[in-house]
């Protein structure tokens, strides 16, 4: 048994590694520049500040241990800062495949940009603005027709007598560099696969090393560590889900056992139909209905039964009991919504599992021995019928945490689900992917615990090995 569990635990390691690859791969596909997300205040970042920030958070490193890319791409592409400059170079290389010429073009453009930034005040202001705009357009341009057009504009601007002494040389250099890019294209290099190896100094490695030590990175939104946001969020999600689980079990066990014992009775048939309907009832619909009708006096004063959404206000010096009542009042509706779906599921499982046990021979034996009905039902049948439910619990718990996303959103409970929802809409990717990987970890722990419980509850189960001889 212990051997099996350790083996399972070891299998989890490669699974978790693959999940981390998937998560990290998805995080590379997110829109926006992460360096801006981490360091920019309201979207603005100083020139030198960018490099410092990129270095601090490892964004000047290659993404992974190795990369598969066409031979046209250099293995130092990741060092180009900032992100939009790197994007332009990458997109240009992807079209013509001549890295050297494009580097020259890129550097000429950078030189011109710095010249344009320090033009004397005597020049016409509007023309300076036009010039800067043209150069900025070129910075982002990667389509050949677009670049041709902007370079033409730049040429005519630089040839004006006032600008000629400052820009003449730079503009013509840029033009030649761009002509070179086009004439010395090497598209063949784009067709040659090239596997590049970077070693352990990469972003994935850093990210994983951080995860192992509990460092989830920093939120783009408020630059706080993600871990400090996950903690309280996990607390509220656990409060919501644990109370729902407890409540659902408390109701499901008597309903399930009773239905199984009086199979076919009127009450059993009622419960079967009722629970089946309940099971199909979308939680977010019920939640919306409850919020719309019963948390405000919109329809009638007497219908304002429950406090509005959120967790409620608690004064700083409030006593424990006071705090509890406010929170409980606000959590009542979400817990109810989370409970009824679980209740329907558990009660059906309990009934089925109880029915199976009751038909067994050892129950007949117990009855034949003359044991009291209570003892037969609760001591012999119920305990055995509980195994499948227990294993179900452990694996269902992580799933139900993910499932409470929509309830947390509707009732504005600052749990994991609400956090994820907000993070997705504000493009706060570190939070999103931390939640994803944490969810996977919790699920795997859940599966492992359910294996453990199954083994503990039923000693006949010899997991992993065949029957012993």
């Amino acid at each position: 048994m212990a051997g099996y569990l350790i083996k399972r635990l070891l299998i989890f390691v490669p699974t978790l590694v693959v999940i981390s690859w998937i998560t990290f791969g998805l995080s590379l596909m997110t829109p926006g520049d992460p360096v801006m997300g981490l360091c920019a205040q309201e979207g603005i970042l100083m020139e030198g500040e960018y490099e410092r920030c990129a270095r601090q958070y490892g964004y000047d490193l290659p993404p992974f241990y190795l990369s598969l890319s066409p031979a046209a791409f250099p293995d130092t592409l990741h060092r180009i800062q900032p992100g939009y400059r790197r994007d332009m170079v990458r997109k240009l290389v992807a079209q013509t495949g001549n890295w050297e010429e494009i580097t020259v073009y890129d550097q000429q453009l950078q030189k011109l940009l710095s010249v344009a930034g320090s033009l004397p005040d005597s020049l016409d202001r509007q023309k300076k603005i036009d010039l800067k705009q043209t150069l900025q357009e070129l910075r982002g341009a990667y389509k050949h027709s677009q670049i041709d057009f902007q370079i033409g504009r730049l040429d005519s601007m630089a040839s004006q007598t006032a600008f000629l002494p400052f820009l003449g040389e730079g503009a013509s250099d840029l033009k030649t560099a761009w002509e070179n890019v086009k004439s010395k294209a090497t598209p063949k290099k784009l067709r040659i696969p090239d596997l590049k190896w970077y070693g352990a100094e990469n972003r994935y490695h850093r990210w994983m090393a951080g995860l192992v030590t509990g460092d989830f990175g920093f939120s783009f939104q408020d630059k706080r560590p993600v871990g400090s946001k996950l903690g309280p969020a996990l607390y509220w999600t656990l409060v919501l889900n644990l109370s729902a689980f407890a409540l659902a079990l408390l109701l499901a066990i008597p309903i399930g056992v009773h239905s199984a014992l009086r199979k076919g009775s009127r009450l059993d048939r009622f419960f079967t139909v009722f629970l089946f309907g309940l099971y199909s009832l979308p939680r977010f619909w019920v939640a919306t209905i409850l919020v719309v009708f019963f948390t405000s006096a919109t329809y009638a004063a007497w219908m304002n039964w429950f406090p509005s959404v959120g967790l409620g206000e608690v004064e700083a010096g409030a006593s424990w009991a006071e705090r509890f009542w406010v929170r409980a009042g606000h959590l009542l509706l979400p817990v109810l919504c989370q409970t009824y779906g679980l209740l329907a599921f558990f009660a059906r499982q309990m009934r089925g599992s109880m029915l199976e046990v009751i038909g067994r021979e050892y129950i007949q034996t117990a009855r034949a021995k003359g044991l009291s009905e209570t003892r037969v039902v609760w001591k012999h049948a119920f305990r055995n019928a509980l195994f499948p439910i227990i294993t179900l619990l452990a694996s269902l718990f992580p799933a139900s945490i993910a499932g409470s996303v929509v309830l947390e959103v509707i009732f504005s409970i600052p749990g994991m689900g609400f956090l994820t929802y907000q993070a997705i809409f504000s493009q706060d990717w570190p939070v999103v992917f931390s939640v994803l990987i944490l969810g996977a970890l919790l699920t795997m722990i859940g599966i492992w615990v359910s294996d453990l419980l199954y083994g503990l509850a039923d000693p006949r189960v010899r997991l992993g090995g065949g029957p012993k001889t």
Binding site: T15, S69, P70, P193, S280, P282, P398, I401, V405, L436
Partner: protein, 427 residues
């Protein structure tokens, strides 16, 4: 063989009769037909265009013409170019039962018109029976358009999930860890084919794919990439077939199919599905319900694979498989023609329950405002509008009933199917 009469199979005699004997089952099936009807013919039920009209002596069928336009066969000609359909000088006209499309904005009835009172309409013919939303769009028309989306996502996603699940489950269950033997050469060549296929299909085309994505043509670009991948894999297998013949390679290695499938299944199961769907849907730049369908399908195959695998393990032990093997049939043929069909019918149960949970997942996603395009109308999106205005109870009630009814129908179907296929289950 001439005297052999074709007997009714397992399906006809037992399953269908048992199914028909249940009231709930029969009713769920009838409701399903109704639901499918609404989804298929929604354009004829709720549309701002007339079904039939006579204008300047000529007869038109604008709803049909709308299909022609969508297929590229027809272009609107005057007087039908962007008209106000209600105000044309018709000589004769027949409007659909609900004379609004899901996206029609009734400017006289904006800001949540009540379904029972206070609507500004010329006659009861144009009454909004389920009210309107903030922009004046008819809720009943929205529900009809939503039915199509729900059915599309539900069936489409389950089709994808079933395909992957049945394929992987069959291979894992039937071949196991010992069943698939092949030469080292083929393994190496396939690995090479995969490497080249991924490179030429996706990596060297990544610029083109991202350009296509920005222009809204990502599916085609990805499909082309897949074709490249398939081409290289086919090339690798063709080459290894030839080389095996030429060099008479006979030394085989075993491919642990079951192990590989079970590991990938464990990985998929470990990532909370709803979270993964949320993240994937949020990553797509131009959201559309089609992506939601594909994503749910790609994530939802695990339970089907597990189930088919377990069934195949049972089927593999049967004597008719042994007989087929003794006859010298090829393993793929036995697997697909003899083993799989016998493991398949119980999968229907899973599919029925799967459609229910997919409809629920789609509604949840659009309720949260993730994955659905700005022009698309779905039940979850309508329901979410109720949150911004508590007064509009009709937006909270009607779409919810539609979602509940659909989920209930498919759950009932699944339940009735499992009773009919395995009557001893609950006895």
């Amino acid at each position: 063989m001439a005297g052999l009469k074709k007997t009714k199979g397992f399906w006809r005699t037992l399953v269908v009769e048992r199914f028909r004997s249940k009231r709930a089952a029969v009713w769920s099936l009838r409701l399903l037909y109704g639901f499918v009807f609404i989804a298929l013919f929604g354009d004829f039920l709720a549309n701002e265009k007339p079904l039939y009209c006579k204008l300047e002596g000529k007869v038109y069928f604008p709803v049909l013409l709308q299909y022609g336009e969508a297929l590229g066969l027809y272009q609107w000609k005057p007087p039908l170019v962007k008209p106000r359909w209600r105000e044309l000088p018709y000589e004769a006209v027949v409007f659909p039962p609900i004379p609004y499309s899901a996206t029609t904005r009734d400017i006289k009835n904006t800001h949540f018109a009540h379904p029972f009172r206070g609507q500004r309409v010329e006659s009861m013919r144009y009454w909004h029976w389920m009210g309107t939303d903030q922009l004046g769009r008819d809720v009943a028309a929205g529900l009809i358009a939503g039915a199509r989306i729900a059915l599309l996502v539900g069936l489409g996603a389950m089709a994808i999930a079933s395909f992957i699940g049945i394929l992987l489950g069959t291979m894992a269950g039937y071949l196991g860890d010992q069943g698939l033997k092949t030469t080292w050469l083929r393994v190496m060549l396939n690995a090479g084919g995969l490497y080249l296929g991924i490179f030429y299909g996706f990596i060297s085309r990544s610029f083109q794919i991202s350009e296509a994505n920005a222009a809204g043509g990502a599916p085609l670009a990805i499909f082309t990439g897949l074709l490249w991948l398939i081409f290289f894999l086919a090339l690798a297998n063709g080459l290894s077939f030839l080389l095996e013949k030429v060099f008479r390679l006979s030394k085989k290695v075993r491919i642990p199919v079951d192990l590989l499938v079970m590991r990938s299944l464990e990985i998929m199961e470990s990532i909370p599905a709803l979270l993964l769907i949320l993240v994937l849907a949020a990553l797509i730049r131009k959201p559309s319900i089609w992506y939601v369908m594909v994503i749910i399908g790609l994530v939802g195959w695990t339970s089907i694979a597990q189930f088919v695998r377990a069934e195949m393990l049972k089927v593999r032990q049967q004597t008719y498989i042994e007989a087929a093997q003794a006859m010298g049939l090829r393993p793929w043929r036995i697997m697909l023609r003899h083993a799989l069909p016998n493991a398949l019918s119980p999968v229907l149960i899973l599919i029925a329950f799967g459609v229910a949970s997919t409809v629920l997942a789609e509604a949840t996603l659009s309720f949260l405002g993730i994955g659905i395009g700005p022009e698309e109308v779905s039940w979850g999106k309508l329901l979410s509008e109720a949150r911004s205005n508590f007064n509009a109870w009709w937006l909270a009630v009607f779409p919810g009933i539609a979602i509940f009814a659909t989920v209930l129908i498919f759950n009932l179907l699944g339940e009735s199917l499992s009773d009919s296929l395995d009557p001893g289950r609950d006895a």
